[in-house]
Symmetry: C2
Subunit: 367 residues, 2 copies
């Protein structure tokens, strides 16, 4: 392999794909970035076998070929070659990668690409098209509620469900549930897939042009998007997702409307003192106000936030972190709380639309 690329192109491409490099794998190849030179392009590939990212850049090729270089190291190194200047990449006779720039040359240990995993890219049976900003908002308002632990792997992903021209994204971790619905532009039909939340957050990084559309392709157990010569593919999670609709109550005994920012500020202050008490904060819901309080050996907070109540008074406690997560992603001025009892789930919705629903389980207070 011998090819010449622009330093800035190389650095940008490496920076994009390096996110898919495996951090600690028994297979050294997965800690590397594959460089593959063909025609007038250089293709950079990284994968940890769950996610794969591939980027193609223009290159002036003198000899085709491929190799695998240590990913993080190559990323650090190319970061320092971020100029319009040419960089020559060259495989030496002893299998190292020779990097030539200005009057200088460097050598990196490299591995043969022969055993590097093949990234499957013929993924096109099903697809949908969505505005990039819409997709980003959808992911941001749900994926934080995915489970972080491995006890139920399926909960580490978001359920993506298309019916007609509506995409529903669902995340839950056993303590809270987030559901967001958004309109799509078009689709090949109804789709159901469980996408690892890590893949979704990488997708968020790739779709930078808010007003453009992105096509999401799905086939068998894979999902793929292509943006600006960057292709991301991810394995889908297999299994049956929890029937989340069953969890959401249909009727409520207590509902109130509250200014989101005011409540968020109060909960944030209360949670400072609640830290030593497992983040537990209490809401005492009265006719015209809610008392947000927390109690610990360091002190206690008791705040008074005005609300519009329908139904009966109620005292309920939550893990403040779960409340704060939700109040930060909603952008509406007012939100609605819907409750039944101090041990039943609480449902939070923006006041203005039905696109978003957040359900949170209360914490039982010791009486």
């Amino acid at each position: 392999m011998k090819t010449v690329v622009k330093g800035i192109d190389l650095s940008n491409a490496v920076n994009k794909v390096v996110k898919a490099v495996s951090t600690r794998s028994p297979n050294q190849l997965l800690e590397g970035i594959k460089l593959s030179c063909k025609g007038d392009t250089l293709t950079l590939t990284a994968t940890d076998t769950e996610i794969a990212i591939e980027k193609v850049i223009r290159a002036e090729t003198f000899m085709e070929g491929e190799t695998v270089v240590p990913g993080k190291l190559f990323a650090e190194f190319t970061k320092k070659l971020e100029t319009e200047e040419d960089v020559e990449l060259n495989i030496t006779s002893d299998g190292r990668l020779k990097i030539v720039y200005s009057d200088s040359e460097s050598y990196l240990q490299a591995l043969s690409a022969d055993e590097y995993p093949i990234i499957k890219k013929d993924i096109n049976r099903n697809s949908f098209v969505i505005k990039q900003k819409t997709f980003k908002d959808l992911i941001a308002s749900t994926s934080f509620a995915c489970s972080q632990d491995d006890s139920r792997p399926i909960l580490k992903g978001c359920l993506i469900e298309i019916k007609g021209d509506v995409l529903t994204c669902v995340a839950l971790d056993g303590f809270r549930l987030a559901v967001c619905k958004k309109a799509i532009k078009e689709s090949t039909g109804d789709i159901k897939a469980i996408v690892p939340s890590r893949a979704l957050s990488e997708i968020t990084r790739l779709i930078e042009k808010d007003e453009d559309f992105v096509t999401v392709m799905i086939q068998d157990n894979s999902l793929m998007i292509e943006v600006d010569n960057t292709v991301l593919t991810t394995r889908l999670l297999e299994g049956e997702y929890i029937d989340y609709k069953k969890i959401v109550p249909q009727t409520y005994l207590t509902t109130f409307r509250v200014n989101r920012a005011m409540l968020l500020n109060s909960i944030e202050r209360a949670s400072i003192l609640a830290k030593v008490m497992k983040n537990i904060i209490k809401l005492d819901i009265h006719e015209n106000y809610v008392d947000v309080s927390s109690d610990s050996e360091m002190g206690n907070v008791k705040e008074n936030v005005i609300i519009n109540l329908e139904g009966k008074d109620l005292t309920i406690a939550f893990n403040s972190r779960y409340l704060i997560d939700c109040l930060r992603v909603i952008s509406d001025e007012f939100i609605n709380f819907n409750l039944n009892s101090s041990i039943a789930p609480c449902v939070i919705k923006p006041n203005s639309d039905d696109e978003y629903l957040y359900l949170i389980l209360p914490v039982r207070l010791n009486q």
Copy 2:
């Protein structure tokens, strides 16, 4: 104590003084911030017995008094009260601090201020006046070279020496030495003091108005500055500072001039591969160029940087971090290297002035 202050004033003041709060002290008072209310002012004080920071803000006082509240917690809490709104601070009959804002109230555990250390502020025997930006530059270009470990406590500070209208600041850690000289506006006479580098970096945070002057006062074993109603005092380090002038060679066999940014870039690239090799990089100095190289099992870098040489060729090795530290603080386009042999100290100076000197010991290469 009962007093009313503006939320934003309180938050800003707490944020300034909290830097002097002790992080882990057997004396719980030192983890606190003292609030002291007298006349139409509230004074906030924090100290870890080395550094003390005190700030005075306007207050509407109903009852004078004082108390000590948990520092970090109070800082986090007041951060969430950053508005123009009034905040009432009140000591309850059971000794807690009651904080009242909007329709809400919170209580923090508090301690009696009776045993809180008294901050000595009659420090004025010697003093000098210097432009804030000049003082900041002086600190930034030297204090990074202070020792970090406790084996020789005196090296954890900078030597500050005034002779006539020149202030010399010196830092060294046994591997490198940084000396910077700057003009001052005036002084009460010659001064010599060793100031903890931690205090200097806090001073840097306080002097925000580049074009204004700051008065630095010294007496016995203390130093004090006052900026915008904030007073910082620090203990000075006691003992005899190393006679650093003896370390600096008077003559050189090899000197070269080089473009600072070009050399810095090369060294940074080389140091990426040198990480696994204790950061060792090698300079091969030739008549018209220097080869910057590093070698490790991951690969090797060899860069070619143009220089103007006077004297004989030389091969010398350094810890790249010590070189990078220096090349980053100098702002000149060109710098001069002055050397004698591969085992003798190397002296780096900006090309344009004699204000700054950096000395670095080489690393012995295994032959």
